[in-house]
Structures are given as structure tokens and as C-alpha cells.
């Protein structure tokens, strides 16, 4: 395997959690809910996935635990913001702080343990294709899930009736209510999908990226995912472009630093953020399309007048 292939493999591993978390948040925001707790749900997913794997010996149970913990955690957010109509921004921030704290507490006994890496699933024949084979068909379950989810979410949002309802709730919740769509239930489901995706992204961190538990191991990826959603103007494929671009530039700058390129390391560290923002701004420069894709009632609480 050449160095180029090795770099690409690390890029995929680095990009997958970003794509997953951003995709979940995209669905949540398309329903009109702004959940700033992605970082907290992600780190909870990482901790619970690792603990469940250590307890049972099966990383697949770990994946389920990661998804479930993220979804349950988001349910707390849903209850506070949708049922009790608390402020979404403040609740989301609190969720992040809570997630970082709780995960550190429950994971403390597991710090330093060596974990079980999620095994690769090798597609016969396909994996023998030179270059592409090892990159795309000798991967772990979470990578395959991330690709399937992107296709699934794209189809769901823009082809299915349920996805149309979800977008309508995000565009104008009072109109959706007047049409008889259950706004609160739709938003609960969207929030939980977002939580599940963030939990899965966390599981990828503690089962694939670095199979161990370190406190605070999400390391700001939740925030990157949030930014990706906005700069991708709420389109799933743009999230993939942004996620992989960010992964690619952050891995290449690591290699560049290792090879001692004569550029200040601070600049190199900042490069992934700059590159991603510039590219996504360029692809979303059409203001009319951006306006049409922006969920108009994002972050606005809904209280039906009964």
C-alpha cells in the first residue's frame, strides 16, 4: 500500500464522524430545531460505545450503545426545548457541557484500557479492485453506514412524503400545524435521529479512530459538524464534500508538519477550517438557493394556540 493510499485511508477515518454527526444535525435543523449539543451527544456516544464494548466484548453492541446513548441524550434536549419550550441555544450549550462531564465521570474507570477495534468487513471481488478496493470495500461497518445514511437522508428529505412533511415543519411550523401535521412529534423524531447519528459518530471515535477512551475525546468535532451543516446550506451531499474536505486538509497538514514544510504550524493547523469554509461558501454562493434551503423557522419555539 502506497503512502497516498495510506493518507486517503486516514482521511476517510477522520471524515466519517464529521459526516455522520453533521448529517444527523442536518435532519434536526431541517425540522426547525437548532441543537447545539452535538459535541455532548457525540462524546456520550463515544463513552457508552467503549464501555459497552469492554463489558460485552462485542464492538457491535458498542455501536448500538453509542447510538442509543446519543438518542436518549437528545431526548432530554427534546423534552426541554419542545415540551417545556426552553431556549434551544442555551439548552444545547448545556447539553454539551453536561455530556462532557457525564462521559468523563462514567468513563473514568476505563481510561488507559486498550479497546477492541471494530473489525473490517471485506467485500469479496470488489475489494480486489486496485486502489479503490482497499479504500472503499475493506472498511468497517460505521463507514458503510455513513454512506448508506447520506443516500438515505437525501432520498428521505427530497423524495419521500415524510421528508416533505419534515421540511415543511422546518419552513413554517404554524402553517404545518394548520395543515394537521404533528409539529412536536416530527421534531422529536428529527431530534432523536440527530442524537442517534451523533452517538454513532462518537462510537466511531472510540471504536475505529482511536480504539480507547480518553476524556473529552470528541475534541471539538461536534462544533465542526454544526458549522458544516450551515456552510453546506442544509444539503446532504454538500455535507459529505465539506466533511471529507475538512478530513483531507487536516490529515495532509499533519503529514506536512511531519515532513517539516517551511510554513508556520499554526497556519497549517488553521488550514482545514479556512479551506472548508472557503469551499463551502463558494458552492453556496447562490443566495436564492441558500434562502430556499435554509429552514425558515430554525431555532424558533413552537407553541400551538389551543
Amino acid at each position: 500500500m502506497g503512502i497516498f493510499e495510506a493518507i486517503l485511508l486516514t482521511v476517510i477515518t477522520a471524515a466519517t464522524p464529521l459526516v455522520l454527526a453533521a448529517l444527523g444535525e442536518l435532519v434536526t435543523e431541517r425540522s426547525g430545531v437548532l441543537n447545539l449539543g452535538v459535541e455532548g451527544m457525540m462524546v456520550m456516544g463515544a463513552a457508552c460505545a467503549f464501555i459497552a464494548t469492554q463489558q460485552t466484548g462485542s464492538p457491535y453492541i458498542g455501536i448500538l450503545a453509542g447510538i442509543a446513548s446519543g438518542a436518549v441524550f437528545s431526548l432530554l434536549f427534546g423534552f426541554l426545548t419542545l415540551t417545556l419550550v426552553a431556549n434551544q441555544v442555551a439548552t444545547g450549550l448545556a447539553l454539551t457541557i453536561l455530556g462532557l462531564g457525564v462521559s468523563g465521570m462514567i468513563g473514568e474507570a476505563y481510561v488507559g484500557q486498550s479497546g477492541i477495534k471494530l473489525p473490517q468487513i471485506v467485500f469479496p471481488i470488489l475489494s480486489d479492485i486496485p486502489f479503490i478496493g482497499p479504500l472503499l470495500f475493506r472498511q468497517d461497518l460505521i463507514f458503510y453506514l455513513s454512506i448508506a445514511l447520506v443516500i438515505g437522508v437525501q432520498w428521505f428529505l427530497f423524495r419521500s412524503r415524510a421528508g416533505l412533511k419534515l421540511r415543511s415543519v422546518g419552513d413554517s411550523h404554524s402553517s404545518a400545524h394548520a395543515l394537521g401535521i404533528n409539529v412536536i412529534r416530527t421534531r422529536y423524531l428529527a431530534v432523536m435521529f440527530g442524537g442517534g447519528c451523533a452517538g454513532l459518530a462518537g462510537a466511531q471515535l472510540s471504536l475505529v479512530y482511536t480504539p480507547q477512551w480518553v476524556e473529552n475525546m470528541s475534541a471539538g468535532r461536534g462544533w465542526i459538524a454544526l458549522a458544516l451543516v450551515v456552510f453546506a446550506s442544509w444539503r446532504p451531499w454538500r455535507v459529505v464534500i465539506g466533511g471529507y474536505l475538512f478530513g483531507a486538509v487536516s490529515i495532509s497538514q499533519l503529514y506536512a508538519q511531519a515532513f517539516g514544510v517551511g510554513i508556520p504550524s499554526q497556519f497549517l493547523s488553521a488550514l482545514p477550517y479556512l479551506a472548508t469554509i472557503v469551499v463551502l461558501i463558494l458552492i453556496s454562493h447562490n443566495r436564492r438557493m441558500t434562502l430556499i434551503n435554509t429552514p425558515a423557522s430554525l431555532g424558533k419555539p413552537f407553541v400551538p394556540d389551543r
Binding site: 412524503r161 415543511s168 419552513d171 394548520a178 394537521g180 434551503n293
Partner: protein, 524 residues
């Protein structure tokens, strides 16, 4: 389609003693109403009379506090809009329940049976809309459509359900006279098919023209049930308002004074993708006259107001002149200091801060123009509360603003009273130039006639007044001269006495007669 053999005298829908309480306030109080099959039934009333609350209960958006609803003789609970639709009730909302980010077909699909594919819905909607003379492109985004086209979507959406009763909430408030005529033809077709229409309006002329029966509401109660064709406009108005409405007349204003406000070939680009750009607008307002600018909403009225007031200054100084001095690049305060006053369209959040008291709102608008009177402490600019409160009281008395306390929050006033206050806030300065946008939008008839009279009186006292309005009744009441804005272009200015409603309707559609015909052909 209504079932055959239904007896003509048993009502399709009967409402008995229906009441809706919001806290202690009864928005609807013991309403009785019956609608027969195949009739167009008018529901008349002022803003706040309870019309919208009543129809929201009929459509399952709100649940009644007490009372009963009989549908084809059977008592029913209408718990949700989809339950209403299943019964055969369709609704076209006043503030459209459309999703701007979605296409026409997607908007319609949301209220349809989920089993039907989007492409079939698109085809059915397109066919139906052409059959009723309301053509629609199912793949257009709603954000790109005019208000009239948006209303068509709502009507087609309701019709696709094959309803027995269609409720229309103030449907013509956003239409040109020609568009309204087209709507009336469609309603006639529906009636001929045996469907019933509940037609909500405060426009008496329309109701008399198309409705078979009318129920009048005031303060949440039924104050009259009649055949509108046998009544006179003033007898209907009395049922609606409870007293006679003062007549406003522009008589006594004239165009012979000096030019106080002028726009010379004013053009401005659109600031947002959904805004309208202004194209080569020329106008002159003389001292002593009221120039009214008519037009359907969203044709550049807001943009024109912004440019004239200086909220968004334009690039060249010379295109806007106040009292013959160029001010195009100057901000709003500079223009105010030159004796101009401005009242924007939105009461809440633009003309007034809802959460602040009336006196605070007064300071916000006039802290520069009345610096001496309202601010003390030299550079500190401390607010002289006593002086400000006195002024707020003076304005409230002059304009008959009815409020709950000495100095309540702006948001606690009803629309009409707040509008009287924000217009009065400018009139109190005796401005030599006044620009107002939609001065009586959503305001009850009493307050509207008060505001209109005040504008005419200001012009009579020698000021130049520019009124931008969608309400043709208002325009004919106050205007000395009239122009029409359409797609950011202004028609020629005509003396009010020379214009008919039909002519204005044509101008609203962009038919400019001697000027600009070629240009409009371009724009389409």
C-alpha cells in the same frame, strides 16, 4: 360534491352558541350561524370581531370552549384540520399557510392523501387550476410567486379535496380589482356545482355583489343576519361598526404649492433575492396635496419608502430632494431635521418597539429632531421623562388613542390604537413633508377614518403628504393625485378625479398606457 336529494332547507353547517375564550377574553361569544348548500355566505366584521377565530374553530385549528357544530344535521367534533377536510370543509387562509421554500406541487401534496405520487398531484393540480381559470405552474417555488398566484395555490389545494364547503378568509385584500373579478367568477362556478362558500370580508361592496346571505359579527357576537343585497352599505357598516363611520374627503387639498418632496429618476437595486428593485421613479409632491401611490403588495412599496426616508440611502444625492435640497445619500435623521416625517409599514418591530412604553417609543423616533425638548444634560443626552410623557399624552389625546394605562407598552395596544399613536407621533411635529406606508393596514374602520382625516388635514395646513397604500378605498378618500407602482416602476401621476378603479387596476398590472408599455413587455 353534495349528495343528491339533500333537502334544500336543512343547512349544510349549523353552529349553535359557539364560544371561544382566551383566558377571560371571549373572542367568540355565543355565535349562531347556518350555511345552506350551494350558497355564498358572507361573514362580515371589523378586525378583531372574531371572524378568524370562528373559522379556525370550524376548520379544527382551534377547539371551541363551548357550543356545538352540526354538519349535515349531525353533531360533530372538529378536532383537527384533517378531520375538517374529511368532513368536506376546505379553507383558504388570509395569511397563507404556504411554505415558501417548497414548490407548488409539494405544497399541495402536504395536504393530500400520502398514497398519491408527487407527479400525479402536479398534473391534477395543473389540470384543475386551468379548469377553474387559475393557471399554475406546479414546479415553481412559492417564494418566486406573486400574492395572487399564492392564493391560487391555496384555492386549488382546497378544491383538490373536493369539498362541500370552502372557507375564504379575506381573499381579495391582496388582489388587484381584475384578479378579484377572476376569483368571483371561480366562486360562481363553485356555487353552480352546488358547493357552499363562507366568504369572510370587511368589504361591503364585494359582499353585496356576490353573497346570498350575510352574518355580521362585532366584538365576538352576531349583530345581524341579512340578505346583503337588500341592505345599503351604510346599514351594513352600522351593523359592523356599531355606529356611523365619519366620512373622509380630500376636498380642500390642492397641487398649487411649492414642490416639497421630489424623486428624480430614482433607481435602486434589490437588497435581497426576494426584494424588488426600483426603476427610474420620478415623482413630485407639492405643499398642500396628498399624493397616493397605489399598488399590490410586494411591488416595491417598501423599497420606495426606504429610499425616500433614508433608511437605505441611495448612491446619488440629487435623485431625492426635500424642500428643494438634495438628500439622496443622507440618513433618516438628517432628513427628519429638514422637516420631514416618516411612518413605516410594520407597526411592530419597525415603527415601534413592542416591549417599550409609548413614551420610550416617542424618544426613539424623535430624539434627534426634538433633541432640545426631550434630551437634557448636554452631551450626556439624559431623557427628560416629564417632557416626553407630556408629549406622549398630547399625542394620545390628539389622535384619540385608547390605552390601558397612563404609559403602557406599545405591544399592549390594539393595532388601530398603536397605528394612531405612531402616525400622531409624526403629526405632532407638524412636518412639512410626511411619507406614510400603508397607514391603515389591518386597522378598524373608526381608527382608519381618524388617521385618514389627520393626513388630509395635514395637507390642508400646507404640508406635502405622500401615502403609499394597497387599499383603493383609502386612496380615493385621501388623494389629491394618484400614481401606481408595479414591479418597481411608477406610473404617471394623475389627478384623483380623473382615475377610475378599472384604470388603476390596469396600471397595477403594469399597463402604463402612454409611457413604458414597451418596458413592461420586456419585464415579463
Amino acid at each position: 360534491m353534495p349528495a343528491e336529494g339533500e333537502s334544500a332547507n336543512s343547512p349544510l353547517l349549523a353552529v349553535g352558541n359557539l364560544t371561544k375564550l382566551f383566558g377571560a377574553f371571549a373572542a367568540c361569544n355565543g355565535i349562531d350561524l347556518d350555511i345552506r348548500a350551494g350558497e355564498i355566505h358572507a361573514l362580515l366584521g371589523e378586525n378583531g370581531a372574531g371572524k378568524s377565530t370562528l373559522v379556525k374553530m370550524l376548520f379544527g385549528v382551534l377547539s371551541p370552549s363551548s357550543g356545538q357544530i352540526l354538519w349535515q344535521g349531525q353533531p360533530v367534533q372538529i378536532s383537527s384540520p384533517s378531520a375538517a377536510r374529511k368532513l368536506g370543509i376546505g379553507m383558504v387562509f388570509q395569511h397563507f399557510s404556504l411554505f415558501e421554500a417548497l414548490t407548488v406541487a409539494e405544497n399541495i401534496a402536504l395536504s393530500m392523501d400520502p398514497g398519491v405520487s408527487l407527479s400525479r398531484i402536479a398534473k391534477e393540480a395543473s389540470d384543475l387550476s386551468h379548469a377553474y381559470g387559475l393557471p399554475l405552474d406546479p414546479n415553481a417555488h412559492v417564494a418566486d410567486l406573486s400574492v395572487g398566484e399564492r392564493q391560487r395555490i391555496e384555492i386549488v389545494r382546497a378544491l383538490l379535496q373536493n369539498p362541500k364547503l370552502i372557507i375564504l378568509d379575506e381573499p381579495t385584500s391582496v388582489l388587484t380589482p381584475q384578479e378579484a373579478d377572476r376569483l368571483f367568477e371561480t366562486l360562481g362556478k363553485l356555487k353552480a356545482e352546488g358547493r357552499s362558500v363562507l366568504y369572510i370580508s370587511h368589504r361591503l361592496e364585494e359582499v353585496q355583489r356576490i353573497c346570498d346571505r350575510a352574518t355580521v359579527l362585532r366584538h365576538g357576537k352576531v349583530t345581524g343576519a341579512c340578505d346583503p343585497r337588500k341592505e345599503t352599505p351604510s346599514s351594513l357598516a352600522r351593523m359592523m361598526v356599531g355606529s356611523d363611520v365619519a366620512h373622509v374627503s380630500a376636498e380642500g387639498t390642492n397641487t398649487k404649492g411649492a414642490i416639497k418632496l421630489e424623486a428624480r429618476h430614482l433607481s435602486a437595486g434589490a437588497r435581497t433575492p426576494f426584494a424588488v428593485s426600483l426603476k427610474n421613479i420620478c415623482l413630485k409632491v407639492h405643499a398642500g396635496e396628498v399624493l397616493a401611490i397605489a399598488g399590490v403588495a410586494g411591488n416595491g412599496q417598501g423599497e420606495l419608502f426606504d429610499a425616500l426616508s433614508g433608511e437605505y440611502p441611495v448612491e446619488s444625492d440629487d435623485v431625492i430632494r426635500i424642500a428643494d435640497k438634495p438628500v439622496g445619500t443622507r440618513g433618516i435623521n438628517t432628513r427628519r431635521l429638514m422637516g420631514a416625517g416618516f411612518v413605516p409599514e410594520e407597526r411592530h418591530g419597525h415603527a415601534a418597539v413592542s416591549a417599550l412604553s409609548l413614551s420610550d417609543n416617542l424618544v426613539l423616533a424623535r430624539s434627534q429632531s426634538d433633541r432640545r425638548a426631550f434630551l437634557g444634560g448636554g452631551v450626556l443626552g439624559l431623557i427628560r421623562q416629564d417632557a416626553v410623557k407630556m408629549a406622549a399624552k398630547r399625542i394620545s389625546e390628539a389622535m384619540d388613542v385608547r390605552k390601558s394605562g397612563e404609559n403602557p407598552a406599545a405591544g399592549s395596544l390594539s393595532g388601530g390604537n398603536l397605528q394612531k399613536f405612531i402616525v400622531g407621533r409624526e403629526l405632532d411635529r407638524q412636518p412639512s413633508v410626511l411619507v406614510v406606508n400603508q397607514p391603515t393596514w389591518g386597522v378598524d374602520a373608526g381608527a382608519a377614518s381618524r388617521i385618514r382625516q389627520a393626513l388630509v388635514d395635514l395637507a390642508k395646513s400646507g404640508s406635502a403628504v405622500l401615502v403609499i397604500s394597497q387599499d383603493l378605498d383609502e386612496i380615493f378618500e385621501v388623494a389629491t393625485e394618484i400614481a401606481v407602482i408595479s414591479e418597481g416602476k411608477l406610473s404617471d401621476i394623475y389627478p384623483a378625479s380623473e382615475l377610475s378603479r378599472e384604470k388603476i387596476g390596469l396600471l397595477m398590472g403594469g399597463m402604463y398606457g402612454k409611457t413604458g408599455t414597451a418596458e413592461t413587455a420586456h419585464a415579463h
